[in-house]
Symmetry: C2
Subunit: 366 residues, 2 copies
């Protein structure tokens, strides 16, 4: 492994491959298409790891990301974001070259698509199943009918079915609540499919945030799942009961630069521009930005939750540690930070170092 | 101005130049060296704007940033971060080519510097004046003496004086509290300088976070100031009473993609990976991630604080708006988001578009 001298995002390839394999198997068992979301890793090289498990259809969150993966030979892409009509020219260029699907959730965007699309494009109706971010509420069939009518005006547009992101599973207080939110969303989409399938016999149901895709077992009627975060997982998922600590595939390696015994704090080079400011509430009621792994007597050791990243400024990370761990940190040591939200941590890094020494680039920023 | 179709960070060059000029004048009036912190903009092109006001010495927050600006002809750089001894080889290469200063705040780092430095290097003692992040507490003269002794062992190292970051001004509840925290820090550094100047006649005092540099007027004995954020300012500074809304020089332009009347919400393409998750508390007691400027009848209009960015996911920004503003947003419109913390927003972007149409790149990520 290359010598690390500054904050470096390391991905454990073995853990990541295991996470991908497990999710691919689950999709296969339930006869669902596995269309993983690539916004988590944003890397053409890591994308190849998914091919090992038969993945040939993917999800992205921006036109730029679709362009990047299309340029890296991915030819079946769903852009899971309410279509941004200002990017219609880019969408046309993409649709000329690959199988592209977009989401529509309002008449304005459907109107522009119907007027301006120049190549075959799949269109999913985005359904809001309770997350209250985007999507047509599952009860608003009038709006759905209007949008479907607009789509049907241009034969280049194909109504593909109903897609939801059950993002409110992230706010669940228990795994039971995740089960029930997922199942509620599934029932809503099944009922919509049943209603519209007479007129559109090929429509599908697309679901699958990481929490529900990871732990739920009821997928009857679901045609595809689109989880993304599961490839890396993170503390937020572990805290929700979605994964085990050993399933988390990424760590930010940070040098220790400062120690303050009077307040039991260690300062590392590794701040908000490396780790990101998403936090969870620690067992002591305080904000936590990461857990800590140290190396002691040649062995890696995950420290208890009262040793944690307690504060982040631009380049500084403050670790609150217990008194008996304080002397296990020395200036010049490298510590590993397990991130709270791996998608945002990866997005900041721009590259990964793998556990077997490869340097992997991500999508460029512009 | 180039057509904007996706989240784009726009810098108002006129406002930025005005902010730089004002701070340069203030430093000159108080006979202080103006050594601005370039971590806010991270751009060699914006760095040139500072040269217009006589700036030739700068502050950075990482070795990589020092390397980037040194490669862009800056020759007098203070690396205002506790020295990371793992980067000693890079520090030696830099010190061979430019006037470089670093911060030391512990014996371990001082020992390594004294052993391994190969070229002239300036060393500031970082003093903790109450922020409690890094630095030697101003009362710990024993530690200071040990560090100074270690530094003095290698004639390539020059003890330059005392430096502090009064970052607790950001947590002040009033501008009066900012005045008093700044003044308290100043008294601590003046007393240290007085104590050590007999043995080190050239030592200096370096201060100047953006809040105190912007509004304080007492700088007797301060040799240089190092503010950074003032070039752009942001909502956090405006909220603290440090700047006016019209002093904020950066805005993230975002396309509207979705409208939800039932909850008075607008969704834009522009999320945590564009705006960053730093927040302040809005007048309604909720977290706010940005204020909103719209264009109405050809005029720009800053909306009241009850129209604000209320939530961010990876690519989505949710705007909570008042009922009477709701219809002023149309799908496909561009809205301007005033960021809460411009340093983190800029860091995510990687580039700027200026109000006069220039595309400005930032330091690459690796």
């Amino acid at each position: 492994m290359a010598k690390i001298i500054r904050p470096t995002l390391v991905v454990d390839k073995e853990v990541c491959l295991r996470n991908i394999e497990k999710m691919a198997q689950k999709a296969a068992e339930h006869k669902m298409r596995f269309r993983p979301h690539f916004k988590t890793h944003q890397s053409a090289r890591i994308a190849e790891w998914f091919k090992l498990f038969g993945v040939d259809a993917i999800t992205v969150s921006s036109v730029r990301m679709a362009e990047y993966f299309a340029a890296n030979s991915w030819t079946d892409i769903t852009l899971a974001f309410p279509v941004n009509i200002l990017e219609i020219e880019n969408i046309n260029r993409l649709a000329a070259n690959i199988k592209l699907n977009v989401l529509v959730e309002n008449k304005e965007a459907a109107t522009v698509l119907a007027e301006k699309i120049s190549h075959p494009l799949g269109v999913y109706l985005e359904i809001d199943t309770g997350y209250n971010r985007t999507g047509i509420s599952s009860s608003k069939t009038n709006t759905m009918n209007s949008v479907i009518n607009l789509i049907s005006k241009n034969t280049k547009l194909t109504f593909k079915g109903f897609l939801t992101h059950t993002g409110h599973t992230y706010e669940a207080k228990s795994t039971n609540e995740i089960f029930s939110r997922h199942f509620d969303a599934l029932l809503k989409l099944r009922s919509l499919k049943q209603k519209y399938i007479k007129d559109f016999p090929n429509i599908e149901i697309s679901m699958g945030d990481t929490p529900s895709a990871s732990i739920c077992t009821t997928f009857g009627g679901v045609d595809e799942i689109r989880p993304g975060n599961f490839a890396f997982y993170d503390l937020m998922q572990q805290n929700l009961g979605i994964c085990k600590m050993e399933d988390i595939a990424v760590r930010m390696i940070c040098p220790v630069v400062s120690k303050h015994l009077s307040r039991n704090e260690i300062v590392v080079y590794g701040g908000a521009v490396h780790i990101s400011k998403d936090s969870i509430i620690n067992s002591n009621g305080k904000k936590m930005y990461g857990r800590i792994v140290i190396r002691k007597n040649g062995e890696k050791k995950l420290l208890g939750p009262l040793n944690y990243v307690s504060n982040l400024s631009q380049e500084h990370g403050t670790l609150k540690v217990t008194q008996n761990q304080f002397e296990n940190f020395q200036v010049g040591d490298l510590v590993e930070i397990i991130p709270v939200h791996s998608c945002l941590t990866a997005n900041l890094s721009g590259y990964y170092q793998t556990t077997d020494g490869e340097m992997i680039k991500m999508m460029p920023r512009y």
